[in-house]
Structures are given as structure tokens and as C-alpha cells.
């Protein structure tokens, strides 16, 4: 551990919490904190993945049938949207690291727009399920032989995509807040930690979707 006295420079001191010795220590701490938070998120989704696996094993035919009622076009486009948003987020973090204020604001804005686009597309897709009568309990018109088990698939679908969308919405709002702050110049190069930490969160949400795509849309097509 590096022993270093607390910095005296006015600007640096303002950025430094009283419990830290150096900005570097503070940065590394925040980063580790976010990673641990993401580990808890993995476990949160992990519960759902477990449930999914159990029921898919129990009712393979129904789950395949369920997947066939999803529209892969939405799924694929949304995947692309999220991947590109991850790129712009990564670039935003880079801009923050380098202290490029204008680029930072723009890239964050693009990221937020892409995120919102994802949620929007998801919303359209959900309303389509509603129109098709594929929403368990609220609008269920599916009358195939395995209705009950297909319903279970759609429960898995809605809970998983729902939780994911909640996460993405939180992400979009946070990015927008950062945009406002960044425009006021709140993130000079030595204070880019918040942006970087938010970036980690964003990429994580992307990652979850990358698993949801095969689990929900792809299995059962072949």
C-alpha cells in the first residue's frame, strides 16, 4: 500500500473524500465497489437464470414453442442497439479520462438515446405480445395444448426482460443526470471516476441482454 500524505492542492483536495489519502486510492475504491455491486447483480439475475433452467428442463417442448412466438427481428435489432450503445459508452469513458468535455457530453447523450431506443423497441414488442394475447393472466389467448407451460415460458420472458428493462431505465436516467453534470464541467480528467463506474454498470446490463437473446429468442428455432 502506498503511503502518501493527503494532497494539498486545492483542486485535488476538493475531489477527495476525507477517508482517502490519494485520488488514485479513491478511484480504485470506487471501481472495486462497482464491480462488487455488479457481482450482486449477477446473483440477482442468477436466481432468474436458475428458474429458467429448471423449467426449460422440465418443459422443453413448451419452451421451444414459446420462443417461436417471439419476434427475432426485435431481439436482433435490440442486441445491435445495445452493443453500439456500449461502444459509445466506452468512448464516453475514454473522453472523460482524457478530459474531452464536449465529446463526453455528446457521447453520453448518444448512449442515453440508444438505451432509450432499446427500451422503446422493447415496449413495442411487449405491446405486440399484448395484442397477440401472449401475456399471462392479463391477456392470454394462446390455446395450444401446452398452454400452461407456454405461459410459464412467457412468465420467464416477462420477468427477465422486465428486470433487464428496469436496469436499463435506471441506466438511461443515470446517464442523463451525468449529461447535465458534465455540461457544468463536473468531470474534469481527475474526476472521471463516476463516469467510469457508470460505464461498468452500462456494459453489465448489455451483457445480461447478450444472454437473454439466446435463452429467450433462439432456443427452439432449429
Amino acid at each position: 500500500m502506498i503511503v502518501e500524505a493527503r494532497p494539498t492542492a486545492q483542486r485535488e483536495r476538493a475531489a477527495l473524500g476525507e477517508q482517502y489519502n490519494t485520488l488514485q486510492q479513491q478511484h480504485a475504491t470506487a471501481e472495486l465497489g462497482m464491480w462488487i455491486f455488479l457481482a450482486t447483480e449477477i446473483m440477482l439475475f442468477g436466481g432468474l437464470f436458475t428458474g429458467y433452467t429448471v423449467y426449460r428442463t422440465a418443459y422443453p417442448a413448451a419452451f421451444a414453442e414459446g420462443s417461436r412466438h417471439l419476434d427475432l427481428v426485435f431481439g436482433t435489432i435490440n442486441t445491435a442497439v445495445l452493443i453500439v450503445s456500449s461502444l459509445t459508452m466506452a468512448l464516453a469513458v475514454r473522453a472523460a479520462q482524457l478530459g474531452q468535455q464536449r465529446a463526453l457530453v455528446r457521447l453520453l447523450l448518444v448512449t442515453a438515446v440508444l438505451g432509450a431506443l432499446f427500451v422503446g423497441i422493447k415496449g413495442v414488442e411487449w405491446s405486440k405480445h399484448y395484442a397477440d394475447g401472449m401475456v399471462p393472466q392479463l391477456a392470454w389467448q394462446y390455446s395450444g395444448p401446452l398452454s400452461q407451460q407456454v405461459q410459464l415460458f412467457f412468465m420467464a420472458y416477462f420477468v427477465m426482460t422486465g428486470l433487464h428493462a428496469v436496469h436499463l431505465t435506471v441506466g438511461v436516467i443515470s446517464v442523463l443526470v451525468m449529461v447535465l453534470l458534465a455540461r457544468r464541467g463536473a468531470f474534469p480528467a481527475e474526476r472521471h471516476t463516476s463516469i467510469e463506474v457508470l460505464g461498468l454498470y452500462w456494459h453489465f446490463v448489455d451483457m445480461i441482454w447478450i444472454f437473454l437473446l439466446p435463452l429467450l429468442y433462439l432456443f427452439g428455432l432449429g
Binding site: Y59, A61, A62, G144, P145, L146, Q148, Q149
Partner: protein
């Protein structure tokens, strides 16, 4: 056990072995805990702090001791594991000649049906000296069938069958509890198991007071009533004679064993696993049949499943 009232009566063939294991563990625990407590007391007296500034003497070379008390508990732990596992596996596998009794649980009562059709509420009569196997299911929430004197217990789940078996060794009346919390009257979901000498049991069976009709025969009636025979004995659907316990080839190429869970699923959601080479035309009977009906149908299909089995 030890002449002290610390164990319920040993009224089944497995009770003694479980008590023996418990006794073994009790002795072991007394030994281990006793030595630890003695050490604590002795050390506290012997090494009490005398001078104000006295400090303890740090230990050197702790590794040999530590390795010992890592490996010894590890080894000791394997004894109750293996012993307990053997009992468990024996308790899991009913002997083939066991009398088969069906049990349906619901909030807050037990219903048992003897092979001969005698139905009992919150009570069960069993013969001494013969294995009895219970096939159990629940109509609502999870319950648990627990007879301390027999040292047996198994949760009773909705939507699934679980089994439990025992062989009573002492005639007498024993308490039956529901041990899985199931709501308001959980504590009142109790009953009596009466173990009778074979002769008395035979007499009880024929006393007829509660005798109705055997589950399998009831099932046969339902089989007609719900129109199962219209397909299953006309060639439109697989003939169910002899399927119980046998592998079944499915449309998707896989093979399943026609056990209780499978038969249940076939009736409630026939399309889930379709038998080759049939079409999935069988309607679902979910909602039309209650758990008692299902148990009886199951009993019927099982009764015609025993190769050359007698249809009651």
C-alpha cells in the same frame, strides 16, 4: 433408550437403528464437548491472571496440533454421514411386496386408502410385520407425514407423488403429525396410526365399517366415466396395460419411464410428452379430476401395469 423418556417408542423396524445412530452421536458429542468444557474450566482456573501486568504465553509450533484437529473431525464426520446415508437409502426404497396405501393430504386432514378400498380420515391401520408403502400427494399446500414412533417422515407435495414406507414392529396406537407448516390448523392436522397383529388387521379389514371399494376399482370406474376407454381401448391411443414402470418411446425420440409423475402428467397435460407414434389428441383433464380421482386412476393404471396383474 437408556431407560429415559428421551425417545419415542421404537415401533418400526428402522427405529432401533436410528436410535443407535443417535446414541452413538450423543456419546461422541458428550466426549468431544465434555473434553472441551473440561479444558476450558481447568485452563480458566489454572491460568487465571495473577499479577496485573502478567501476559499470556504465546504458543509456538501450532501446526501439528492444528492438522490433527482438522483431519480428525473430517474423518469423524464421515461416520454419521455414511451411517445416516445407509439408513436413508434403505428408507427410500420400499420392498417390492409392500402393501400400497394411497394418502391424500389437504388443509387440514389426512385421507388414506387401503388397497382394499377402506378409506380412513386422520387415521391409518397397518399390519404388524408387513411393509407398508405410502404413495402421497396433496391437494393444496405442502404437508408432511410424520410418525415419530416409526421414525419416518416425508413431505407431501401438491402436483407430485412422494413415497414413504415402514414396517410396524409393535402393535399399538401411534401419533401421526403434519410436520410441515400448512396454515391455520397445522397443529390440528394430526391423527392416529394403529398397528395391528396380522390377524386383527385382517379382521379390521373385513369389519367393513369403512370399506368401500378398492382404489383401483374406483379408478376403473373413472376410466369409463371420463371416456378414457373410448380411446385407450379402441386403438386410437396406446393401450395402458402393462405400461406402468416400463420405458415409453416418445415422439421426439426420447424415452421416459412411465412412473407416477409421468402418468400424472400424461393425464393433466398430455401434450407435454407425446407417445410415439400417436397424435396429441388427448384432451387435458386438468380441472376435471381432483387428487382423489387422480390417485384412483393411477392405482388402476398401476394395477393393470403389473405383468399379468389381477384387475381387482
Amino acid at each position: 433408550m437408556l431407560g429415559l423418556p428421551i425417545a419415542p417408542p421404537q415401533a418400526s423396524t428402522t427405529a432401533a437403528e436410528i436410535d443407535a445412530l443417535v446414541l452413538f452421536m450423543l456419546l461422541g458429542s458428550f466426549l468431544i464437548a465434555g473434553s472441551i468444557f473440561c479444558c476450558i474450566v481447568v485452563f480458566c482456573v489454572k491460568y487465571r491472571r495473577r499479577a496485573g501486568n502478567q501476559i499470556g504465553q504465546p504458543a509456538t509450533r501450532t501446526a501439528p496440533l492444528e492438522i490433527t484437529w482438522t483431519l480428525v473431525p473430517l474423518a469423524l464426520g464421515m461416520i454419521p454421514f455414511v451411517w445416516g446415508a445407509r439408513i436413508y437409502l434403505a428408507e427410500a426404497q420400499p420392498p417390492p411386496d409392500a402393501v400400497e396405501v394411497y394418502v391424500v393430504a389437504r388443509q387440514w386432514m389426512w385421507k388414506a386408502e387401503q388397497p382394499g378400498g377402506q378409506a380412513e380420515i386422520d387415521a391409518l391401520h397397518v399390519p404388524v410385520g408387513r411393509a407398508v408403502k405410502l404413495t402421497m400427494t396433496s391437494q393444496d399446500v405442502i404437508h408432511s407425514f410424520y410418525v415419530p414412533a416409526f421414525r419416518v417422515k416425508a413431505d407431501v407435495l401438491p402436483g407430485r407423488y412422494t413415497t414413504l414406507w415402514f414396517q410396524a414392529s409393535q402393535p399399538g396406537e401411534y401419533r401421526l403429525y403434519c410436520s410441515q407448516y400448512c396454515g391455520t390448523d397445522h397443529a390440528a392436522m394430526i391423527g392416529t396410526i394403529t398397528a395391528l397383529q396380522p390377524a386383527d388387521f385382517a379382521a379390521w379389514l373385513t369389519s367393513g365399517a369403512t370399506a368401500t371399494n378398492s382404489p383401483a376399482a374406483q379408478g376403473r370406474k373413472l376410466f369409463q366415466q371420463y371416456g378414457c376407454i373410448d380411446c385407450h381401448e379402441t386403438g386410437r391411443a396406446p393401450n395402458l396395460h402393462g405400461i406402468y414402470g416400463q420405458p415409453v418411446l416418445l415422439l421426439d425420440g426420447s424415452v421416459v419411464v412411465a412412473d407416477e409423475a409421468y402418468i400424472r402428467e400424461s393425464i393433466l397435460s398430455p401434450a407435454a410428452r407425446v407417445v410415439s407414434p400417436y397424435l396429441p389428441i388427448m384432451p387435458s383433464f386438468a380441472g376435471q379430476l381432483n387428487e382423489d380421482d387422480l390417485v384412483q386412476l393411477l392405482a388402476y393404471i398401476k394395477s393393470i401395469g403389473i405383468p399379468g396383474g389381477a384387475t381387482p
